[in-house]
């Protein structure tokens, strides 16, 4: 395979395996816990029938059996029932609620970054603003989320989980996610740096002399790099979502993962991590497509030149 197709190809491959690598990893970690998994859920000293439980949850024949039966279930959309966090509720139901929520939260946060990136790339956003953004970026997401959470609870009280409150919650969460931990400032400075260095390239100067636009020349060449940057940022947002969701009590994947891990509700933990992996894989896929798209765009023959 020629070198220029290798990168996207590898990304595509990674995107396919990722959703199962993460749960696999976690299955391994579950078995690394002291004591066998079933007795973590229901210690024999406390309750009888631990073996029965182990069998019921495929915990009785070792990690591989557990993992494989989990995967075969997951492929048919059956993630089993939660046994601690929401006893008896199908985990799929929890996923259904959580994935869109987290996706929305991250997308909103991302929107902020994309606006910043566009501003930086097109020079709308003056570099003078960078220090301000950086200063705001110093505040950890936790602190922003904490204050927002307190305000929401006191303000909304019993209504604090009403649709309106949840919408506000999502907005505040996205804001915290986008602004804090240098997410926005990092994006802006990163994109600006990239575009400016491209603008300094001689071919862009010449393009101006040929009467062509700067961006139309520079953008296609920086697109793959930009896509890479944005993916890294989005991954960062995904990670941040865990903290923001827990603190702001947003019913997303991160909150699900946190609750599941604390309650050692393995079914929930696996499903939540699967959800995260799927989102992350989707990003990989997107990046690969952008790269392939750019490559094809570069190679396309103008007005169908027949060579």
């Amino acid at each position: 395979m020629s070198a220029r197709w290798l990168r996207p190809a590898v990304r595509l491959g990674a995107a396919l395996v990722l959703p199962f690598v993460v749960p696999g990893l976690i299955t391994g970690l579950i078995w690394a816990l002291p004591g066998d998994p079933a007795s973590i859920i229901c210690p024999p000293e406390l309750c009888s029938g631990t073996e029965a439980l182990a069998e019921r949850w495929n915990l009785d024949k070792g990690p591989w059996h557990f993992f494989s039966s989990w995967v075969s279930g997951a492929l048919t959309g059956d993630f089993g029932n939660s046994w601690r966090l929401q006893q008896g509720i199908p985990v799929a139901e929890l996923l259904e609620e959580s994935i869109p929520t987290t996706a929305a939260l991250v997308s909103l946060g991302l929107l902020l970054l994309i606006l910043g990136a566009t501003g930086a790339a097109t020079r709308w956003l003056p570099a003078k603003l960078d220090p301000v953004l950086q200063a705001v970026g110093l505040v950890p997401a936790v602190v922003m989320a904490m204050s927002a959470a307190a305000a929401l609870t006191i303000g909304y009280g019993v209504e604090q989980y009403s649709d309106q409150a949840n919408l506000l919650r999502l907005g505040l969460g996205a804001l915290a996610l986008g602004l804090a931990d240098a997410a926005l400032s990092g994006t802006v400075t990163g994109v600006r740096g990239l575009m400016e260095s491209e603008r300094r390239q001689r071919y862009v100067q010449m393009a101006i002399l040929r009467g062509e636009g700067t961006l139309s020349n520079a953008l296609p060449n920086t697109l793959p790099a930009l896509a890479g940057q944005m993916r890294a940022r989005t991954l960062h947002l995904l990670s941040g979502a865990v903290v923001v969701e827990v603190v702001l009590q947003i019913n997303g994947l991160g909150d699900l993962l946190w609750g599941g891990t604390l309650a050692q509700d393995f079914g929930v933990v696996l499903a939540a991590s699967f959800g995260f992996a799927v989102l992350s894989a989707a990003l990989l896929l997107l990046q690969a497509l952008v790269e392939i798209g750019t490559e094809l765009h570069v190679r396309r023959s103008p007005g169908g030149v027949v060579a």
């Binding site: 071919y203 040929r210 009467g211 020349n217 570069v298 023959s301 103008p302 030149v305 027949v306």
Partner: protein
């Protein structure tokens, strides 16, 4: 000199805060004629050429001079800029943008680094051709013709600059320059980075192509023999003395 007068530059004087870059330069370009701009390195050849295209990007920059494109109108393009500094010069850059790539085009030196590395020759030609006053029906045909004019194969249209030799790049640059059917081609040291044989080839080709297209050529060069051989008019830039 009955030919159409394309560029009438008078008394061009450009300086930075520290030094004079060019001073009191007069230059004329005519349709179908080759005007050579000569001078030692650092004498401001490229700067002058860019000034002809309305591209001024030094501060305070243009302090004196007038620029007319008689074939277009009798407007003095420098009038709003003289002594007005960077902002005015940026405005001029915007105002004159429509002319670049149509009234006159630019064929850069060291073309390999001057062409967009992310676009095939074909696309760059296509972009240039689309700037003609009447774009042709058959784009690909136009591209093929241009390529053969500068002695490149149609299949080369699929190559990226990085996949072509220095000579090919220079020919490509020329093709791109003449593609919009401009009135004037400004060629900036086409010989840079080429061996003598190639140099002669490229420059002769350039002259031929321009003659065929009946457009003027402003050739920036310090290659005396070539200039002697092909130039109709020659403008010498003196070496620059540092101002107090």
């Amino acid at each position: 000199m009955g030919d159409v007068h394309l560029v009438k530059l008078r008394n061009l004087t450009i300086r930075t805060h520290a030094r004079q870059l060019v001073s009191e330069i007069d230059l004329d370009c005519y349709e179908g004629r080759v005007t050579a701009l000569m001078g030692p390195s650092g004498s401001g050849k490229s700067l002058t050429a860019r000034a002809v295209m309305g591209c001024l990007d030094v501060d305070p920059g243009l302090v004196d001079g007038t620029l007319h494109y008689p074939a277009l109108d009798d407007r003095d393009w420098y009038a709003p800029v003289r002594g007005q500094g960077m902002r005015a010069q940026r405005r001029l850059l915007k105002d004159s943008a429509p002319l670049r790539g149509s009234y006159f085009t630019y064929s850069p030196q060291a073309a390999s680094s001057a062409l967009n590395p992310g676009r095939t020759l074909g696309q760059q030609l296509a972009l240039a051709i689309r700037r003609r006053r009447q774009p042709p029906e058959d784009l690909s045909r136009a591209i093929r013709d241009l390529l053969s004019e500068v002695g490149l194969a149609p299949s080369d249209s699929r190559l990226l600059p990085s996949e072509m030799s220095g000579g090919m790049n220079q020919r490509a640059a020329l093709a791109i320059a003449v593609a919009p059917l401009p009135r004037l081609v400004i060629a900036d040291e086409p010989e840079t980075g080429l061996d003598p044989v190639l140099t002669r080839g490229v420059i002769e080709l350039m002259v031929d192509v321009c003659r065929d297209h009946r457009c003027g050529l402003l050739l920036i060069s310090h290659h005396q023999q070539t200039v002697d051989k092909i130039a109709d008019d020659v403008v010498h830039l003196p070496g620059v003395e540092v101002a107090p």
